[in-house]
C-alpha cells in the first residue's frame, strides 16, 4: 500500500512539473493551424511595457485583419470582439479602441476589413502573467494573437476606484459587499429558522420527526396535512405564517432600502457599432500563389508567388503575416526579428513587372505552433504579404495556397 502511494505521488508530482509549463499558456496552438491562418492575421502587435506596478497602465496596440480567406465552413463573420486573454482578471481593461473609436463591447465586422486596436490595461494581481490580444467572432470562436509575459509588481495593494454619475467614487473591488452580505445572510437566517422549526422536534414538537413518520404519511392521502391525527398542527401553521411575514418584511425593507439608496438606475447597456474603415492606400501590388511545399523534418515552408507591381514606383516585399506570426525579409531584418524568410531572386519589383518570388520560411515555429500539419483535413497556408513602395506606402495582399507536404 505504501509503495503504491509513493509511486502515485512520484508520478503525480512528475506530471505536474513536466506539463505545467505547457498548460500555462492559453491554448493558442490547440486550434487547427489552417483555420488560424485563414481567419485572422495579427500584425504589428506591440506591448508598451513588460513590467508594471499594480494600478499602472500597459497598452497593447496592433492590427487584426479578418482575411478574405475566411473559411465558409465557419459561417460569415458578423460580430467580433477584441479582448485580452490572461489567467483571470490579473489585469483590468481600462480602455479599448477599434480604428480610433471607443469600443467597450462587441462590434460589427466584415470579411476583408482590418481593425487597428489599442487596449489599455492596468495591473491588478501581483505576479508574472502571459497575456495575448484575442479576436473573437460570433459563431466561430476566438483567435489568439501574439502574447507576452507581463510582470505586475506589488504596489502595496490595489483599488479599482470608479466615479458614478452622481459624483460618488466607489471601489469596484468591494462596492456593495456589505449590503449583499447582510441581505443574503439575513435570508439565510430565516431559511434556517424555517428548517430548524420543522426538523428539530425539540423546537417544532414531537410531530416533527422524519423517518419514523413514514408508516403514517404513506397511509393518508397526499393532499392532506393530517391535522386530525396531529401530523401538522395549528401551531405549525401559525409559526409558518410568522416566518413568512418575517420574510416578507425583509423583502419590503430591502426594497425600500434599494429605492432610497440607489434612486437612479438604468438597465444594462449593450453597445454595438461598425468601426470606421481604415484609410486604404492605392493598390499597387497583387500576388497569386503558384505552389507551396512543406518539409516537416526541417520545418521549412517554401512558396512560389507571382507578384505584380501595378504602381508607378518600385516596391519591395517586406514580410508575410499569418495568424499571430510575422516573417520579415532576412536581408532587411534587424537583430530583433523573431521570424525571418529568404526571398529570391530579389524582393524588389519594378513598376509594371511581374516576378515569381521564391519564399523560404525555415522556422521551427511551423512545427512548434502546429501551423502546418499533415494529419489535418486541409493542408494549406494562408496569410498576408506586406509590400512597401519607395514612398513608404504599404499594401497587404492576402494569399492562400494548398501545401504539398514532404511525406516520404
Amino acid at each position: 500500500m505504501r509503495r503504491t502511494i509513493f509511486i502515485s505521488l512520484v508520478l503525480g508530482v512528475s506530471a505536474v512539473f513536466t506539463t505545467a509549463a505547457a498548460a500555462y499558456a492559453h491554448g493558442e496552438n490547440s486550434q487547427e493551424g489552417f483555420l488560424r491562418m485563414e481567419t485572422v492575421a495579427f500584425s504589428n502587435v506591440q506591448f508598451t511595457k513588460d513590467t508594471i506596478k499594480q494600478g499602472e497602465e500597459v497598452t497593447i496596440t496592433g492590427k487584426a485583419s479578418l482575411l478574405t480567406t475566411w473559411p465558409r465552413t465557419l459561417g460569415e463573420p458578423d460580430t467580433g470582439f477584441l479582448n485580452v486573454t490572461a489567467p483571470g482578471p490579473v489585469l483590468l481593461m481600462k480602455n479599448r479602441e477599434i480604428n480610433g473609436m471607443s469600443a467597450p463591447d462587441a462590434f460589427f465586422v466584415k470579411k476583408g476589413n482590418a481593425y487597428d486596436f489599442k487596449l489599455t490595461l492596468v495591473g491588478r494581481d501581483v505576479g508574472r502573467w502571459h497575456v495575448h490580444p484575442t479576436f473573437s467572432v460570433a459563431g466561430s470562436g476566438t483567435l489568439i494573437g501574439p502574447g507576452q509575459w507581463i510582470t505586475v509588481q506589488d504596489a502595496g495593494g490595489f483599488q479599482n476606484n470608479h466615479t458614478l454619475i452622481n459624483g460618488q467614487t466607489v471601489n469596484l473591488e468591494n462596492y456593495g459587499l456589505g449590503q449583499l452580505t447582510i441581505f443574503h445572510w439575513l435570508g439565510f437566517a430565516l431559511g434556517m429558522a424555517w428548517m430548524l422549526y420543522w426538523t428539530v422536534p425539540a423546537i417544532g414538537g414531537a410531530n416533527h420527526r422524519t423517518v419514523s413518520k413514514l408508516p403514517v404519511t404513506l397511509r393518508i392521502p397526499l393532499n392532506t396535512d393530517g391535522q386530525d391525527i396531529g401530523l401538522i398542527t395549528p401551531r405549525d401553521h401559525r409559526i409558518s405564517n410568522y416566518l413568512l411575514l418575517a420574510t416578507f418584511a425583509l423583502l419590503v425593507v430591502g426594497w425600500v432600502y434599494q429605492s432610497v439608496s440607489f434612486p437612479i438606475k438604468i438597465p444594462q447597456q449593450v453597445l454595438r457599432f461598425t468601426p470606421p474603415e481604415l484609410p486604404q492606400p492605392a493598390v499597387f501590388a497583387s500576388a497569386i500563389p503558384k505552389d507551396a511545399a512543406f518539409d516537416p523534418q526541417t520545418s521549412t515552408l517554401i512558396m512560389n508567388v507571382d507578384v505584380t507591381n501595378t504602381g508607378k514606383v518600385p516596391m519591395m516585399l517586406k514580410g508575410f503575416t499569418t495568424s499571430s506570426l510575422t516573417f520579415v525579409d532576412q536581408t532587411s531584418a534587424g537583430t530583433g526579428a523573431e521570424h525571418v524568410m529568404v526571398i529570391s531572386p530579389s524582393a524588389t519589383i519594378a513598376p509594371g513587372e511581374t516576378k515569381t518570388l521564391n519564399l523560404t520560411l525555415r522556422d521551427p515555429v511551423w512545427r512548434d505552433a502546429r501551423m502546418i500539419e499533415v494529419n489535418r483535413p486541409r493542408i494549406e497556408v494562408a496569410g498576408q504579404l506586406l509590400f512597401q513602395d519607395q514612398a513608404g506606402v504599404q499594401n497587404q495582399t492576402t494569399i492562400a495556397s494548398s501545401v504539398n507536404p514532404k511525406l516520404i
Binding site: T163, V170, F183, Q269
Partner: protein
C-alpha cells in the same frame, strides 16, 4: 345508519392507530438518525441544485452584467425551481414537511457561497461583488408556505411558481440595485455592472455572448420587466413539473418497486 356509524367508528379507530404510530418510539430511529440524514443529504441536495442551476442558467448567476431585467427573471426562476420542487414532493410525501424548497435553497446557498468565495474570489480573484450568486431562500419559504396552505401540488405549481418568480426577482433585485447605477466609461453611459463586465477580463467569454435585453420592435416599451416576470412565472410552472417528474419517477418510483410499502 348502522353502516354509517360503523364507518365512522372505523375511521376513528384508524385515526387513533395513526396517532399512536406517529408518536411510537423506535429503538434505532431516534433523532440522531434524523440529524445524520439532514446533514448528509445537504451536500447531495446542494450540489444537485447548484449543478442544475449552472446547467440552465450559469452565466446569469455568475455575472452582474448578465442579471438583466429581461432574461434573468425568465431563465433563472425556471432553472432554480427544479430541484426544490423535487425535494418538496419527497419531503411532503414522506414526512408532511413543507420544507423541500427551503431546505434546497439553504443547501444551495451554502454551496454557492463556498464556490464563489473560494473558487471565484480567492482562487481566480474575481471580486465577490461581481460574481455573487442569487439567493432563493425567501422564494423557497414562500413556495413551502404555499404548499402548506394549499396541500396541493397542482395549486402550488401554479400559484407557487408565480410567487416564486416574483420573490426571486424582488429578493435579488435589492442586491443588484447598486450595480445598476449609471456611470460614464470609455465615453459611454453604462451601468456599474457593465463596467465590471468590461474591466474584469473573461478570456473565453466574448461580450457578444451576453444574453441580455438589447431591444426589439416587439417590446412592450417600458414594460419589459413585467412581461418577463409574467412569462418567467409561466415557464417556472414547467420547471416545477420537471422537478415533480424527477421526484416521482426517478426518486420515489424506483424505491416503491423494490421496498415493501407499510
Amino acid at each position: 345508519m348502522a353502516a354509517t356509524a360503523a364507518a365512522v367508528s372505523a375511521a376513528e379507530a384508524e385515526r387513533q392507530e395513526l396517532r399512536g404510530l406517529l408518536h411510537k418510539k423506535y429503538r434505532w430511529l431516534d433523532y440522531k438518525f434524523d440529524l445524520v440524514f439532514w446533514v448528509t443529504a445537504a451536500f447531495v441536495v446542494g450540489a444537485a441544485a447548484d449543478i442544475t442551476k449552472l446547467l440552465f442558467a450559469g452565466d446569469w448567476d455568475f455575472w452582474t452584467d448578465w442579471k438583466d431585467r429581461q432574461w434573468w427573471p425568465i431563465i433563472s426562476p425556471f432553472a432554480f425551481i427544479i430541484i426544490p420542487s423535487a425535494l418538496q414532493y419527497i419531503q411532503w410525501l414522506a414526512w408532511r414537511f413543507p420544507t423541500g424548497a427551503t431546505y434546497t435553497a439553504v443547501c444551495m446557498f451554502l454551496c454557492s457561497w463556498v464556490g464563489r468565495v473560494y473558487q471565484w474570489d480567492a482562487f481566480v480573484t474575481y471580486p465577490l461583488v461581481f460574481v455573487w450568486p442569487a439567493t432563493i431562500i425567501p422564494a423557497g419559504i414562500f413556495l413551502d408556505w404555499v404548499l402548506l396552505k394549499t396541500k396541493s401540488f397542482v395549486l402550488t405549481s401554479v400559484l407557487g411558481s408565480m410567487v416564486w418568480t416574483l420573490v426571486f426577482w424582488s429578493s435579488n433585485y435589492m442586491t443588484l440595485a447598486p450595480y445598476l447605477q449609471p456611470t460614464q466609461f470609455m465615453g459611454h453611459i453604462l451601468t456599474l455592472a457593465d463596467v465590471q463586465g468590461i474591466m474584469y477580463l473573461r478570456s473565453q467569454t466574448p461580450e457578444y455572448l451576453r444574453l441580455v435585453e438589447n431591444g426589439t420592435l416587439r417590446s412592450f416599451l417600458d414594460e419589459t420587466q413585467y412581461v418577463s416576470l409574467v412569462f418567467g412565472a409561466t415557464v417556472t410552472i414547467a420547471g416545477y413539473w420537471i422537478g415533480q417528474l424527477i421526484a416521482r419517477y426517478l426518486a420515489i418510483w424506483p424505491i416503491g418497486r423494490f421496498i415493501k410499502r407499510f
